[in-house]
Structure formats: structure tokens, C-alpha cells
Point group: C2
Chain length 214, copies 2
């Protein structure tokens, strides 16, 4: 039995897990969940994942795991090589802090359900864009300082870690808000470097089922 990822090509949270799976060299099946069409609210999906969010990962024992950070930590514990966390506790704390800035301080404020909620409150499309650009910019400022200090090619050190699994999808999403990545040269350098890595290429939205043909 293989691993099965419930994934949507354009969403950044499943993208994180796709990178982790690809870096570990794991075989997995993808079941597309079209978040824009509302597939996640359907009975079939809710029966599997009551929160109705993607990603979810079905393990080879048939257990369904949710929440991208929890799934990535499970991958790291279950398939330790190649490691996505450094061996020392301080390094692991740095990598997890970079991941948490994306997962807790940037992304939750800029996803589809939040944009819809803002529009429900009467916020204009322009207001929603200003809102998104603000949180991404604040978060990128914090990440730039950390990557400048700890990165050497990738976000932490010279090999991909959990930090890159979170950072690269967020850089991809930032393009939606017309943000100039030249404001964050260290992050841009990591994104350019990762673009040449086969695992990041395999996980990219454009290479997923459901993505628009070029």
C-alpha cells in the first residue's frame, strides 16, 4: 500500500507536503481536492477529514493525517533519511521557527477562506490585496533576517530542510500580490536555488494534476 496525498495544485499547504515527500524520495498517489470548486466541503471528503482542509495524508496503514506541519514531522520520524531537520536541538529550533513564521504568521492570513471572509465583511478586492501584501511583507522581513544568518544556499545551511518546504510555497504564493522579491534578496536566492532541485520541481504546482496547461 502506498502513501496517498489529498492535494490541490494551487494551494500552498499541500505543496509543502509534496516537497517533503519528494525530498524523501517517497512514492505516493495524489487525490486532487479542488478547493476552489468546494470539493473539501463534500460529504465524501468530510467523512475522511472532518476539518475539510487540504492536505491530508493517508499512510500505508490507512490512517489519515492532517495539518501540513504535523504531516512533515511524521514523515521525518517515519522516513528519517534524508533528514529534513538538523541533528542539533538549536538548529532544529531555528528550522522550526522559520517554518512557523510561514505556517503561523503569514499563510493563515492569506488563504482562500480568509479572503472570502474579508469580502463578506465588505472589504474591497484592493483592500484584500493590501491586507495580504502586508502580512507577507512583515513575515518575509523576519524570514530574510533568519535566512541571511543561517542560510547557505537553502534557508538553513546547504541542504533542504523543513524550512524550505514551507518557504518555497510561500514565495510562489507571494507572486499573486505583485510583491517584488528583490526586497528580500536572501529569500530570492534560496527560491532560485531550490528551483534547480528536482524535488522542488516535481512538487511545483504547474506539475500537478488539475493545473492549467501552459
Amino acid at each position: 500500500m502506498a502513501l496517498t496525498l489529498y492535494s490541490f495544485w494551487a494551494a500552498t499547504a499541500p505543496y509543502r507536503v509534496r516537497i517533503g515527500l519528494a525530498l524523501k524520495g517517497l512514492d505516493f498517489d495524489i487525490v486532487p481536492v479542488d478547493l476552489r470548486a468546494g470539493d473539501q466541503h463534500g460529504e465524501a471528503y468530510r467523512a475522511r477529514n472532518p476539518q475539510g482542509l487540504a492536505p491530508a495524508l493517508e499512510t500505508d496503514s490507512g490512517d489519515l493525517l492532517t495539518q501540513s506541519l504535523a504531516i512533515l514531522e511524521w514523515l521525518e520520524e517515519t522516513y528519517p533519511a534524508p533528514a529534513l531537520l538538523p541533528p542539533d536541538a538549536l538548529g532544529r529550533a531555528r528550522v522550526r521557527a522559520i517554518a512557523a513564521i510561514v505556517a503561523c504568521d503569514i499563510h493563515p492570513l492569506n488563504n482562500l477562506r480568509v479572503h472570502q471572509a474579508l469580502q463578506d465583511l465588505g472589504v474591497s478586492r484592493e483592500g484584500v490585496n493590501t491586507w495580504s501584501a502586508r502580512w507577507v511583507s512583515d513575515g518575509f522581513d523576519a524570514l530574510e533576517a533568519m535566512v541571511l544568518r543561517h542560510g547557505r544556499g537553502f534557508a538553513y545551511g546547504d541542504a533542504p530542510t523543513l524550512a524550505d518546504c514551507l518557504l518555497i510555497p510561500q514565495v510562489y504564493a507571494a507572486a499573486r500580490y505583485d510583491l517584488d522579491m528583490n526586497r528580500w534578496p536572501a529569500l530570492k536566492a534560496v527560491a532560485d536555488h531550490a528551483a534547480g532541485h528536482p524535488a522542488f520541481e516535481a512538487a511545483h504546482p504547474r506539475n500537478q494534476p488539475g493545473a492549467p496547461r501552459p
Copy 2:
């Protein structure tokens, strides 16, 4: 040299780390950072923590750790007993998923800086409350299902875990939005149970420097 926590009595993210430290039985000093007065934007604090958020933990080697989830994982790795994560990878994934629902799906949408940003967009105080209640309710619905399935006194099993470090502060914060916790009986039972535990009592906002006297 002792551990030093940069903490604000009323904020839920430092509260999580206080619970973790107390559960581990660790001695630590507290430096209050008054988030409502803007202490986190001052030069002295920014020099230590460029993101200007609390909590931050200064380790006994003088390193400054940020992001509550990363700090709690560091505590678990550095002071393994008593454990805040179960021994099996599946159990750890469940506990981390509960923690992530609070840290990624609820709290980021309901903190001081987000409420201020909503007001800047012209959203009324009533609109802000509706917004907050919505995200807390959605998240609590997801948590209720998980705790009902996995909890036995605490959120996962019969001993406190990382899941309780995140859940209990979020239940505390929910009182601000006049939410009736009877809608989530499993979460309410865990919160009532935790209230009788000395580590949760020691970490409670009312017992912190800067808290209003009763």
C-alpha cells in the same frame, strides 16, 4: 544560568510556553513584554528578537529562540522528561495536528495585530468580534472531533501533551468572544481537568507579572 522567557501575561502564545516549562518542572525567569503598550516594537526588544513578537526564550547558553511551537519542540528535545509527545509516530502526528489547528487555523486570525488591521480596514468592533468567533468556532469544531476520539482526561490520552499546551490558552482566549464552551463538551472537560493541575495553574495569565490584581 537559567532559562528566561519574554512573556506577556494576557497573550496566548507565551502562555503555551509557560505551560510547557511548568510541565517540565523547569526553573525560569520572566521578562514581561507589554504587547498592548507596544514594548515589542522598542529597539531594546527588537535587537533581541527582530520579529518583535512574544514569546522568545533565552536558553542557558544565551541563544534566543522564537516561535512558540519551535520553542516547545526544543524543550521536548532538550528536557525529554516528562514527555509532551507520545512515543509513537502516529500519536505524535495526532498531538501535533491538534496543536497546529490552534497555532495555524485559530490563533493567527484572532490576535491583537490582526484585530488592529481589521479596524484599519474599516471593520467595526462588532464585525471584529463576529470574525473572531467564527474562526474560533470552526477550529473548536475540528478540535472537538479529535479530542472526543483521542482524549482521556487531557486532549490526547490521560497525561498533558503539547496539544494541551496549545488548547488551554485558546480556551482561555475564547471567553473574550462570549462563546459558550458547552457547545464543545470534550474541550470543556479537558479545560476543567487541566484547571486542577498545578502546572496549568502556575502558567495561568492571572498568576503572571503585570496581570491585574483580583
